[in-house]
Symmetry: C2
Subunit: 277 residues, 2 copies
């Protein structure tokens, strides 16, 4: 199965995430998926090395989801093996005063990938058309304007050879409640719990509509959105790892040519080995 083609939000096509079953796994079930993810992980490591060495292109991975949707889990399971050299992950907290005094894209632009890097956004500039829209901090008119500015921003990143992949990890409202329960049942996760996790659930449908908005306006050829059915974590990990690996292959990163005179070095510093040849 070609996960990229299957799960992409085709630019120009209108979708409604409420039509997409978060439990869909296209018959993959749970069997052996971890082994496939593991194999993909080795591919990701291999390609990350090449991207890093090539030092010419970069990759930006955007993760958005409802709370407990699996952003942390995906980053842990799929991207843990990324070499921290050349890979950065950013989560974005309440804006600082300085950040709030700039345009809404400023703080994201500051940490955009430079050549050779893989950068992960755990939540992203899309929060500005999600939580801010849902809670009415911005007008519908402003939201529409932001879609355009976001597309322009991503085009700017592309101009520096940044490949952008955006993942919406799609879970059901029931699945969220179940996962919240897991946190309640696991002492090690109690620190993550706040009552607002639960009250925010009242806005579920508004969030889905906000996701529809950004998916339908901001899935572009060069910075596509993917809707990943994520009730099944193993399927989610497989899908995300397949899509990233696929994109890395398309980037065709190449190890740089050497500028050194290797034969001269061989003769000068390894005379005996050179003679043997």
């Amino acid at each position: 199965m070609n996960f990229t083609e299957k799960l992409i939000v085709a630019p120009g096509r209108k979708i409604d995430v409420r039509d997409i079953d978060p439990s869909e796994d296209f018959g993959w079930g749970k069997k052996n998926l971890d082994r496939l993810v593991e194999r993909n992980t080795r591919g990701l490591m291999e390609y990350q090395y090449k991207i890093y060495a090539e030092n010419r292109q970069s990759l930006l991975l955007v993760f958005q989801a409802m709370d407990a949707g699996g952003k942390d889990g995906t980053i842990n399971h799929v991207l843990y093996a990324m070499n921290p050299q050349g890979c950065r992950s950013h989560s974005f907290k309440v804006p600082t005063k300085e950040e709030a005094e700039h345009d809404f894209l400023w703080r994201y632009h500051k940490v955009a990938p430079s050549a050779g890097e893989v950068v992960i956004f755990n939540r992203s500039h899309y929060e500005s058309v999600l939580v801010e829209k849902v809670h009415g901090f911005v007008s519908p008119k402003e939201v529409k304007k932001r879609y355009g500015l976001i597309n322009d921003f991503e085009k700017t990143l592309l101009s520096n050879r940044t490949t952008i992949l955006k993942f919406f990890l799609h879970i059901s409202k029931e699945e969220q409640l179940k996962r919240f329960k897991d946190r309640l049942d696991d002492k090690r996760k109690h620190w993550k719990i706040s009552e607002s996790d639960y009250t925010e659930r009242e806005y579920w449908d508004d969030y889905m509509k906000a996701f529809n908005g950004l998916l339908n306006h901001c899935s572009t050829k060069h910075a596509p959105w993917f809707v990943i059915p994520s009730n099944n974590k193993e399927f989610r990990n497989l899908a995300v790892s397949e899509i990233i690996l696929d994109a890395m292959k398309h980037m065709k990163p190449a190890l740089p040519e050497t500028t050194a005179d290797l034969n001269r070095i061989r003769k000068l510093y390894y005379p005996r080995a050179a003679k043997k040849e």
Copy 2:
């Protein structure tokens, strides 16, 4: 064996790295060391999670070595499993114009760890008393002054609860030549080769003296240096992983207490489960 005690440069004691055998492995040989490193890696992941969750302390890992000394290899093998969330790695290239126009610590301070982070310096502020000293870019008097400023800088980081560990990966001159040969023999590594790698070897003894200087002046109680015999890569990985794990344990990171009323949440959102109890 307590690697921390064995390999630390005891503050105040004068050492000469030329007295330390880079092939020393204290009888560990090569047997099964990878499995021990693997086990330590799981410990590192566990503690990194706690440091991240606690969001109060941080860890700075400094790696210095001669070229081919194994900085990249150690980071790959020991720290690959660090979750990119909460772990950053920095290597430092030729200073930009802006960086060069500041004091010699400015660009390092900018990327120092914030609460909850593990930060890796692949080369570091110590280059300012290494390559710059060896090539006479700074006077001996200035070098001495820098030792003091570096110690002050590290004390400042400590004041924000940053634990600092500094590793000198110690290889022999012959081992370096051998490793350079491996690069020559591996097409995938040709891009890393430059002739200056070889000409720089003429300064080997000056570098060792420069290392002596910084080890003897900048190994402090709260930011100690470790000399890791590194001709044997497996031993090196084991030693580094042991020392980091040891330090993380000493940090005693604790998961934060929850501020939510968990019983209220249980009753409100999981009435059936709550009844059963």
